[in-house]
């Protein structure tokens, strides 16, 4: 199953997501390319993933429906922002996180976080789903339920699920 980056973004904007911030991963290369050229949304190329979480908080305060995109290496960078801003202040947010190190198969710098990521998300907690292109709309409905509860949630995207790469 393949899905273009533009289609992925369109599925998100159709669910009302209108503010995107993050740091790229090659697994989402086509998504970032689409975001760069779209004029129907706000896109920030953040210098760090926790910066993106802060920007998303600001957007949420101003009534937007934000998405933060990151490689799972960036989840580590984001923990304090999630733990002391997003969650306690009840700022809803969708995290699209690529799963480098999935099943222990990747370059060495990704192995630790590839193994630890879901346990880290569970410990905050931040609910997560593994992205399923055949069930994307249903997954976004679940994200919307978390939004209604003012709760962040994550969609985990690993290699092989879809072709959104650069």
């Amino acid at each position: 199953m393949s899905a273009s980056g533009d289609d992925f973004v369109t599925r998100l904007t159709a669910h009302g997501f209108d503010f995107f911030a993050g740091v790229p991963c090659s697994l989402l290369g086509a998504v970032h390319r689409a975001l760069e050229s779209r004029t129907d949304l706000i896109y920030v190329e953040s210098t760090r993933e926790d910066e993106a979480v802060g920007q998303a908080s600001g957007a949420f305060l101003a009534g937007r429906k934000p998405v933060v995109l990151m490689q799972n290496s960036g989840l580590g960078n984001s923990l304090n922002a999630l733990a002391s801003l997003t969650i306690p202040y009840e700022h809803a947010l969708l995290l699209v996180i690529t799963w480098r190190g999935f099943e222990g198969k990747d370059a060495p710098e990704h192995i630790v976080m590839g193994d630890a990521m879901t346990r880290i998300l569970d410990s905050l907690p931040v609910p997560w789903q593994v992205y399923d292109p055949l069930a994307f709309d249903r997954q976004l409905d679940q994200v919307d339920r978390h939004f209604a509860e003012r709760c962040p949630s994550a969609l985990l995207v690993h290699k092989g699920l879809l072709e959104l790469e650069a």
Partner: protein, 195 residues
Amino acid sequence: MSSPRLDREIAIATALEILPPDAMVIAANGHMGRALFRVADRPGAFYMIGSMGLASSIGLGIALAAPERRIAIFDGDGNVLMNLGSLATIGVKRPRHFLHLCFDNETYASTGGQRTISSGVSLERVAEAAGYGYAARADDAAAIRRAVSLALEANGPSFVLMKVAGGGLPPGTPRIPFSPPEMTRRSRERLLPER
């Protein structure tokens, strides 16, 4: 011998004199937010109690989502140093009505007064190099009034650094009396009054 540094609360009050009442205020964590709250609590002001460094990022998110809003960040030197990358993002996105105030006491006051390294780096020059349209240093009340007035006229992000005295908060200064969810409600009501 250099003249004594301006009291931080006087610097805050002076900046607030010039800042229009419709400005959306975002305050950094620690003593910065508590000092601001003690001087004046602007309606809907957002006080960050953790996430050190992110006040300017929160402000940028609001500015991009609501470009007609005037944003004022009440930041500290430790906070700015922790998120220097944010200066670049702000410089590049160029929000039009974005005032970034840095009350620089060269101290991590909230953790017992350890020094920051801000005496060794001109944060206002970093902001200027990052693309802020206006960047200035102001060390007395008259200079603050001038700098903030000029910053408000600038069509792009502005940075005003004020060297202020160290030392802790006056005794009896309360913590921010709102819970985080209450602060989110207050700020959203301010930004989205029609909801």
